[in-house]
């Protein structure tokens, strides 16, 4: 055995012990522990299989992968593995690890293996309905395909098939046709092992065995759609796609998911100009073969009736928006912006890296301002400095694979299962493999953290800083021994927290990554959609950086530091800014939605670039329709800093990307952008070499002790659940119905003092407003409650004026009075 000694650094795979065996007469060497079925794949031999899945623990249940195996005995003689007296016993190649000198004969060279496989295939089909012509999987079905390649032409079965009433809903989204199920346990293993949501299981026995759920408890998982995809037959279907299309009528395009910063590879299937479904694409470096339900099901937003299709301008006489031609709209926008004088730019999380670059340049070159901020959520100046010093333009940093190698990962202001699902799955894999311990500073032990086996350092909202500072001295966590710190965007709202994180990273040498919620945020930061940051992470304050950028742009870069989102809105409300350019911002996501609405309403001149009508378009003077991701090429930058390019999916669409609109306005303004297409924008962005000059210093904001909640109230902890409200999740009722019930979580003591039981309705209130949600229990401090930021029609910011750390009151909603009341 020869193993080349490796001199490379930590990224090189460790030298592996190789095992040599022959498969169908071909000698091959594979790493020790490799399963025979995988070793065969590597030499191009495809052994048929159903239950086998490379990312799930083997079960050996379907018996489709049987092969003949001989092993050398102590005398070196090969001995075929035998079964019941005198019979060769073919072995399941999906459960059998390779061994030195092993001889494997697959269906290609062993008549016994071939017959065994044909036999199993015949058995699998006896109770299968063979309703392929009406089955979603027909045309892309492993059972169908392998029945053709490894089965007999005709079934000898003439008897009665087992039937079930069909289909049954195992969740609002996932349906089960039990008759089609081959009981491979892929779905159940995925749920238990990968997602950690063991809410489907095989029940009953014999031919009546079936996938089941607990009585009246639907299958609840943020990752449920994966079971549909890995089901090797059409037993699991989605309410959304069921009976919608035939696979051979679909055009499939690889793409990248736009719902979080995970950068998950997806496959988008469309037919006649319409996306009909999305699947996970296999990217071993990023999402492996899994995606979140949001990435899978939330795509109907682009086809809602309120989708904008043509430019509009506000009619001077009626005050209403009216359709306009593109040239007119460009001219009106340019005229208005010029007249407005100083203009601020707000961009939202849906932007691609290229579009974001368009805004970054448009603000500086066409509007002459640094008033631009991509953070359409609660943010802070401390965060801006942290992003400038630690994140912007840094390129690929901590990767998914690094997480599996890290000895410890600490999560700060981040709930991966809800805010970064792809990341959650990889963290769970790392945890299950046993090498990576996970720690979190959080207000309570969420289900997501429990599934990561996380050690939770409890901190009430606003009190995270001392907890973070303590981590440097946590011997169990041992961040200095190869640890990784993952910081969520929510930490921006805690004064001093990001400063403490920077110190922690410096002290311990732990690697640091920032995990924003939205797909476009890291790209927007790198492209310069932040007041103090120019493209490529160049600090605005650095004269050399400005010269660099000016050279590419052929113009000077404004030097006045920019305002942030809240600052821009406040300035617009106060008349300090005469106009706003707003790109895909949901005002309800901002720190103070009410103030934001008022600011947009009162702003002198508003240009809106939007996909669908929104609160901003209501007040806009010019509205431009822009293309959703499926209708343009582009790229996102994942939380790792990995650029994830994608092609245009719907070739026929003539919707235009944001850059094209910006170029049109810029031309009218007489300050051309220099590009009109995504490709040209990308090319120009790539001209910025990585910045090797000085960066902004780490922020050094002191922690300000959180104010205790006033008597009778609680401090609010909150974040968004993955499945919740938001314009990009509109349009699939089954998807929403499969989400969690919006629930306020309280401590057991609080529940008792409310006189409430789990599941009761409680009212959450502030001086601004009230909301009614179900109540549940968690290991929260007694003076802290948690509620989803925006779910089930309740938006805490909009409806209660509340965010993380706010004081809220809680009361039990009395159950409906009984119809007949006893007289007193």
């Amino acid at each position: 055995m020869t193993v080349t000694p490796s001199k490379a650094g930590s990224n090189a795979p460790a030298p592996q012990d190789l095992v040599t065996l022959t498969i169908d007469g071909i000698e091959t060497s594979v790493p020790k522990g490799t399963l025979v079925i995988r070793a065969a794949e590597q030499i191009g031999v495809q052994i048929p299989r159903f239950c086998d899945h490379p990312l799930l623990a083997p079960v050996g249940a379907c018996r489709q992968c049987l092969v003949e195996v001989a092993m050398p005995g102590p005398d070196g003689e090969l001995r075929t593995m035998m079964g019941p007296p005198g019979r060769v016993k073919p072995q399941a190649s999906c459960t059998l690890p390779v061994a030195e000198g092993m001889q494997v004969k697959t269906q290609l060279t062993s008549p016994i293996a071939d017959k065994a496989q044909q036999g199993v295939m015949e058995q699998l089909l006896i109770n299968h309905p063979l309703d392929c012509p009406v089955c979603d999987k027909g045309g892309e079905c492993p059972l169908q395909n392998q029945a053709m390649t490894n089965g007999r032409g005709e079934s000898r079965f003439q008897e009665v098939k087992r039937t079930f009433p069909k289909p049954i809903n195992i969740s609002a989204q996932v349906l089960l046709d039990r008759e089609r199920c081959v009981l491979c346990a892929r779905c159940t293993r995925f749920s238990e092992q990968v997602a950690g949501d063991p809410f489907i299981a095989l029940v009953e026995r014999g031919a009546l065995q079936q996938v089941g759920i607990y009585e009246k408890e639907p299958y609840r998982s943020n990752f449920s759609g994966n079971v549909i995809q890995i089901c090797p037959v059409g037993a699991l279907t989605s309410a959304d796609y069921r009976f919608r299309a035939r696979p051979f009528d679909l055009v499939s395009t690889p793409s990248v998911a736009e719902h979080d910063s995970g950068g998950a590879a997806i496959r988008v299937d469309h037919r006649r100009g319409k996306v009909v479904r999305r699947l996970a694409w296999n990217d071993p470096e990023v999402n492996e073969e899994w995606i979140t339900d949001k990435d899978r099901f939330a795509f109907h937003y682009a086809n809602r009736p309120d989708r904008l299709t043509h430019p509009q301008v506000r009619d001077g006489e009626t005050g209403e928006l009216r359709p306009a031609s593109w040239p007119e709209a460009f001219a009106v926008a340019a005229r208005g912006l010029r007249a407005a004088g100083r203009v601020g730019v707000l961009t939202g999380g849906r932007l691609t890296r290229e579009d974001a670059y368009g805004y970054a340049k448009f603000a500086r070159v066409a509007l002459g301002t640094n008033d631009i901020d991509f953070r359409s959520r609660p943010a802070s100046a401390e965060e801006e400095q942290f992003l400038a010093s630690r994140v912007a333009g840094r390129g690929l940093g901590v990767t998914y694979t690094d997480l599996e190698r890290a000895n410890a990962v600490v999560l700060l202001g981040l709930e991966p299962e809800e805010e970064a699902g792809t990341l959650f799955l990889r963290l769970r894999k790392a945890y299950r493999a046993g090498g990576t311990r996970i720690f979190a500073v959080a207000p309570f032990t969420s289900n997501g953290l429990r599934k990561l086996g996380a050690t939770v350092v409890k901190a009430a909202p606003g009190e995270e800083v001392p907890a973070i500072e303590q981590l440097a001295h946590d011997g169990e966590l041992a961040l200095d021994g190869g640890g990784v710190i993952l910081v969520g965007e929510r930490l921006a709202t805690v004064p001093g927290a990001l400063s403490a994180v920077a110190v922690l990273a410096s002290q311990t040498g732990a690697r640091l990554a920032w995990v924003p919620r939205r797909a476009g945020d890291r790209g927007a930061l790198d492209a310069g959609c932040l007041g103090s940051v120019l493209p490529g992470g160049r600090p605005l304050a650095d004269a050399g950086a400005r010269v660099d950028v000016g050279a590419v742009w052929g113009s000077t870069v404004p030097t006045v530091p920019g305002r942030d989102t809240d600052g821009i809105l406040a300035a617009a409300a106060a008349g300090e800014l005469g106009g706003l350019v707003v790109a895909g911002v949901d005002l309800d996501d901002l720190a103070d939605p009410t103030a934001a609405r008022a600011a947009v309403a009162s702003a002198g001149f508003v240009v809106s670039l939007e996909l669908r009508a929104s609160a901003v378009t209501e007040h806009a003077d010019v509205v431009f329709p822009v293309a959703p991701v499926a209708e343009k090429p582009g790229s996102f930058v994942s939380w790792e800093g990995r650029v994830r390019p994608f092609e245009k999916v719907l070739e026929g669409s003539n919707a235009v990307p944001d850059v094209r609109v910006l170029a049109g306005i810029a031309d009218e303004l007489g300050t051309p952008l220099g590009f009109q297409t995504i490709e040209a924008a990308a090319a120009e962005l790539d001209e910025f070499a990585s910045w090797d000059g000085e960066r902004a210093a780490d922020p050094t904001v002191a922690a300000s002790p959180a104010a205790p909640a006033p008597a009778g109230s609680h401090r609010l902890a909150t974040w968004k659940t993955m499945i919740g409200d938001g314009p990009m999740q509109d349009g699939d009722p089954a998807y929403h119905a499969s989400g969690p019930t919006p629930t306020v979580l309280v401590s057991a003591a609080t529940l008792e003092s409310l006189g409430a039981a789990v599941g009761d309705q409680v009212e959450l209130s502030t001086d601004t407003g009230t909301a009614v949600l179900a109540v549940g229990v968690a290991d929260l401090a007694d003076d802290v409650v948690w509620a989803p930021t925006s779910s089930g029609g309740v938006n805490l910011g909009r409806d209660l004026g509340a965010g993380a750390g706010s004081a809220v009151r809680l009361s039990l909603v009395p159950a409906a009075a009984p119809a007949v009341q006893e007289a007193m």
Binding site: G83, V120, F157, E159, G206, L208
Partner: protein, 436 residues
């Protein structure tokens, strides 16, 4: 004819209330435990190895060797699990043993646990036999009270707890790894091996699983020595064992005899096939072992002898069928059992038994052609040795073997368009001398 019976396990069954501790101790019970606790655990393992005791649960695996697989350096607790799930059609030895003399098992459990270093032992009893569960629990209680169980047993410092667990009612839970899943509170389905139970069994800890009779035999070996044990039986199948005769036999019941006795001898002891009838076919060790016929009356009933005759000794459950029995009908009934009991995990068993039952049901009604018989054999060929566990191998045994010996009878069904037998004639309440 000489009486070849060697009652050891069954020796006290005719005593007064043999299930009580008092009765058991009167006949020398729990003295072997004293002896054992004065030995080193390894010495007991060596003794059982030397005795040649082979597992009585069906597979005949050497018990001492199985105990020897328990790793010494594993930090997890060790467990002994007694398999008392006895559900194989025809098998009926463990239940009478536990009813008649539960303390024999309890004493065996303590000695065996001590030998393998276990401080907790489980007896997994088939859930349907509530009377046995009660009797075992009473015996365990008595044993605790007498200091044979619990802390500091017999003053030696050795502690052991025994838990009598009621099974959840499935044949598959007798398969040792399915039993472990069931014991852990899961649905009983066989586990993938490796890891083997000796390394990662119950609660992922080193576990020995033995049949009731295997464990109940241990005290006698400790008491009388390996040589005594080896003086009974044959070269590779040593000792005495319980043979269970049932069906068309004059005196059905348990016959404890040395391994290697023949059916002819056993039938002599049992008063022969029921009056006026003659042997047609029989199972040597439960329904999962291929049928034998009257040609095999002189086959030595040990592992090697029955193996050479093309079947398996299994659980030594001798089900006797006389000439009134329709073999097709009997095989169909068995196959229905396997279909019902298939756990559903693997395709050949789950789907294969579903299909076999339907084909056999058709054949019993005389529908089909001789090609169906070949197809039936081919269906069996696609099941035997292709499934996840041995249940499916057992399921095809009756079919394969009946077609081997009684193909003509199948053909006769097809020729007549129905069953040539009178089903009444084979019942035990049929008039003496009734024929088909």
């Amino acid at each position: 004819m000489t009486n070849v019976l060697t009652p050891v396990l069954s020796d006290n069954w005719d005593a007064d209330r043999p299930w009580t501790r008092e009765s058991y101790e009167r006949s020398g019970g729990y003295q072997a435990l004293d002896t054992a606790l004065r030995m080193q655990p390894d010495e007991i393992v060596a003794l059982v190895k030397e005795s040649g005791l082979r597992g009585r649960g069906g597979a005949g695996f050497a018990t001492g060797m199985k105990w020897g697989f328990i790793p010494k350096d594993n930090p997890n607790p060790k467990y002994l699990v007694v398999n008392a799930d006895e559900s194989e059609p025809g098998t009926c030895k463990d239940i009478p043993l536990m009813m008649a003399s539960p303390h024999t098992l309890v004493e065996g459990v303590v000695i065996s646990s001590y030998a393998i270093g276990a401080h907790t032992a489980f007896i997994y009893v088939r859930g349907e036999v509530l009377h046995v569960i009660r009797r075992l629990r009473a015996a365990v209680q008595e044993a605790y009270a007498a200091g044979h169980l619990g802390k500091n047993i017999h003053g030696t410092g050795y502690d052991l707890d025994v838990i009598v667990h009621a099974g959840a009612g499935a044949y598959i839970c007798g398969e040792e790894t399915a039993l472990l899943d069931s014991l852990e509170g899961r649905r009983g389905q066989p586990r993938l091996r490796p890891p083997f139970p000796a390394v990662a069994g119950l609660y992922a800890s080193p576990t020995v699983i033995n049949n009731v009779e295997s464990i109940a035999t241990v005290p006698s070996i400790v008491r009388n020595g390996a040589e005594w044990f080896g003086s009974m039986g044959t070269e590779k199948s040593k000792g005495m064992t319980l043979y269970s005769l049932s069906g068309h036999v004059t005196r059905p019941g348990q016959y404890e005899a040395p391994l290697g006795i023949t059916l002819r001898e056993l039938l002599d002891l049992a008063g022969g096939v029921r009056n006026g009838h003659k042997l047609k076919f029989w199972t040597p060790g439960g329904s999962s072992t291929p049928l034998l016929t009257d040609e095999h009356l002189d086959v030595p009933l040990d592992y090697e002898g029955v193996g050479a005759a093309g079947s398996m000794l299994g659980t030594k459950a001798l089900q006797i069928f006389d000439e009134t029995t329709c073999v097709v009908r009997a095989v169909l009934r068995w196959t229905e059992f396997y279909k019902h009991e298939s756990c559903g995990k693997c395709t050949p068993c789950r789907e294969g038994t579903w299909w076999l039952v339907q084909v056999l049901a058709r054949l019993e009604k005389g529908q089909g052609s001789e090609e169906d018989l070949d197809q039936l054999l081919d269906q069996c060929d696609n099941i035997l040795g292709r499934s996840f566990c041995a249940l499916a191998d057992g399921a095809v045994s009756p079919i394969d073997s009946s077609l081997k010996f009684f193909r003509d009878e199948y053909v006769e069904h097809l020729r007549q368009g129905g069953c040539p037998f009178d089903p009444m004639a084979s019942t035990l309440f049929s008039p003496v001398g009734a024929t088909a």
